[in-house]
Subunit: 135 residues, 3 copies
Amino acid sequence: MPLVNISILSGKSPEYIKAVGDGINSAVIETMGFPQDDRYQIIHQIDSDSLQIQGRDGDRVMMHLVMRAGRSNESKQAFYKKVVENLAANPGIPPENVVITITENHDIDWSFRDGVAQFIGYPDSEITKQKQAGP
Amino acid sequence: MPLVNISILSGKSPEYIKAVGDGINSAVIETMGFPQDDRYQIIHQIDSDSLQIQGRDGDRVMMHLVMRAGRSNESKQAFYKKVVENLAANPGIPPENVVITITENHDIDWSFRDGVAQFIGYPDSEITKQKQAGP
Amino acid sequence: MPLVNISILSGKSPEYIKAVGDGINSAVIETMGFPQDDRYQIIHQIDSDSLQIQGRDGDRVMMHLVMRAGRSNESKQAFYKKVVENLAANPGIPPENVVITITENHDIDWSFRDGVAQFIGYPDSEITKQKQAGP
């Protein structure tokens, strides 16, 4: 969590793609209190005429996060600020061309592996055991 | 707002793609009271066997809108009707092959640019100033 | 309903893609009480470095379902279990590499065809008539 769908322009280098993914991921972890390894990202490469932000033609990115309800307004605002800073620094996407939206769901609405709803706490789930064991 | 993910068959012409984007965008603006320049669209090109609507094989489109809660049922119904009309007229997608779904979120869940949550009203946001200055 | 966005690794065979779509679809129908023909799927092919699950590098899939609120926790848990079983059997995706999330919406938020909100019950909707006719 969260699951992040990211749409960038097609034809970018592996370094650009990695920078986008890393910049969003570190902002998620730093500002919204997710675990270090909580990276669930899908990066879509979209042709310029199919990635429409009010007719703008510069480098640009849109992202949609799905995550559990509960983060504060302040956390979300810190995330928006940080992710735009990160993407401006590397790979150099202008802050005015970063669009972000979030939709929220609930504990029952997630299965990260093994076909179990980890937040509901299956007793035989390895992740649940780790969660119970740990920090 | 709204952010619209649109999935069409791959291999279409630029004119087809533009017609789909334009037809959806003008329906959004006309029926749900969004501003004229409120275009946030991602058009995904999907192979026929990966774009499944109950086994139908004609030309087809599925779209998912994310937008703030608050539009009336009547607005949404007017949108459905209008978007299907527009896409039938150009590029000629059969009304029976248009699938639409909407999920809603809240003011805090949007950042359109600059890493700020515009609907929450950062005092230093250019868009907030424009908004305050009036339509 | 539901609309399922599925992201798999790019370069897979038509048989692999069909197995993924079929395995998810039959799990949806079997565990959550949807009609037999209720298949609305978009399968996205994503390069390995753009489909990130905590740095894992094996075969993998992430899916996001949008559906109406109302399914029980037990139904959702049965779905998670079944879909992972199906995908492990064919095309052989490891259960630890299947990520699932669900977001819910409402009756008004769907139009499956013809530009009408079928769950709201337009009297002139063919689907509404079929629904009213039974079973």
